[in-house]
Amino acid sequence: MSLGAHMLGALDADEAARVETHMETCPECRAEFEELSGLSALLSRVSEEDVEQVASPPTAVLDRLIAASARRRRVNRLLMGLAATVGAIVVGGAAWMFVQDGTGARTNTAATAPAAGLASAEGVSPQFNKDAPGSSGGNDLVAPSPGPSDAASDPSRIMLAPVPLIARNNGVEARITPVQSGGGTALDISISGVTRGTSCRVIAVALDGAESPAGSWTIDAADYPRGGTATATFTAHTELSMDRIKRFEFRTETGRVLVSVPNNH
């Protein structure tokens, strides 16, 4: 019973000596002591502060995470509404034009906003985001969108949707849905056409040219669970409010601009 305290050096000298003497003739205690001794190297690797830190995680983060997940669901629902609308437009033949225009060149907001539902035109399939827009997948432009028809038929709800900013450049397509969050802006981002292993970061460029890093990530295998080109989605945040942002830039580690997304809001 004293073996633990002995291993930690907490026994007084007399008792420690008695334990040592006992262990000379007791193989069971000796073995037990050696087993416990293996712990001391691990114990020495953490401090009391470390343990306290672990025991008191930052609860503000939990609140923000839950809020972010709720926001994401809302955005998805609204985008699904958009997707359903676009389905109707595509059937009418109008949408095809700007999708063609958008390839290779930069297209943005006003005209392209409804194209959120047309990601499938580029072979994008949102793996992680089961209720994301365009989840019909494939290249079938006229595939009926799975959006709830009530959202689609109610224009006022679509007007309320946070309109995504979209831009394309050299096969890379970035979509940013900004949502005001505190004094800054939360950004739901999806990007496709980026080579696996590329480290990217997104930067908010203010009207005065100042740059504010909003987040970064590496496109890794987890972003392509089925191989090939898919859409990586993530959430970023900038302390700038949308009215102070001129554009967003997606850059590689070396500073090369992958795609620049103007803020037309």
Partner: protein, 170 residues
């Protein structure tokens, strides 16, 4: 709230409960900035939540720490407005791969200790981390010295078990 929302929230809560404390401790060490550390923890857990496939088939701890580490490094680089001038400084804060592994282990140990029953944690704190003798610990904790000894023993046994469960057995 929809059933899906509830499931999301549950996943987020369990990710948070299991990993936020150690992840935060780790990132705080790297950045020294509590606000930034919170942001990095938030983004890291958000990614884990959005990539459920990650949770399924690899050691999530190592994945989370890697993502957090990369975020810290990227933030550091991004702070410099001209990327071509950053390489030296960025490298200075980039922890080596084996350091990352070590950090995952160390924070796993901290987790295991934090998850002990409170009375077990308390005796370990006194006898080991605060270097108190059995007698001193008994006074501080208001329990008999014999109880300090037995609790220390059971605390270490419980810790060993917890470390084994985490794949951190000595």
């Amino acid at each position: 709230m929809s059933p899906a929302g509830t499931a999301d929230e549950q996943l987020i809560r369990s990710l948070f409960d299991e990993h936020a404390g150690s992840l935060y401790g780790y990132v705080l060490r790297l950045t020294g900035d509590p606000g930034k550390a919170e942001d990095v923890v938030q983004e890291t857990l958000l990614r884990a939540w959005k990539h459920p496939d990650v949770l399924a088939d690899r050691p999530i701890r190592a994945w989370l720490f890697t993502v957090a580490r990369n975020l810290v490094v990227d933030h550091h680089r991004a702070r410099k407005s001209r990327p071509q001038e950053t390489s030296d400084e960025a490298l200075a804060v980039l922890p080596a791969e084996d350091e990352l592994e070590r950090a995952v282990e160390s924070w796993g140990v901290a987790d295991a200790i934090a998850a002990l029953r409170p009375e077990h944690r308390a005796v370990l704190m006194e006898t080991y981390y605060r270097g108190r003798s059995v007698k001193e610990a008994a006074e501080v904790l208001g329990i008999p010295p014999g109880t300090v000894k037995s609790r220390t023993y059971y605390a270490l046994r419980a810790l060993k078990l917890a470390l084994e469960e985490r794949g951190l057995a000595p």
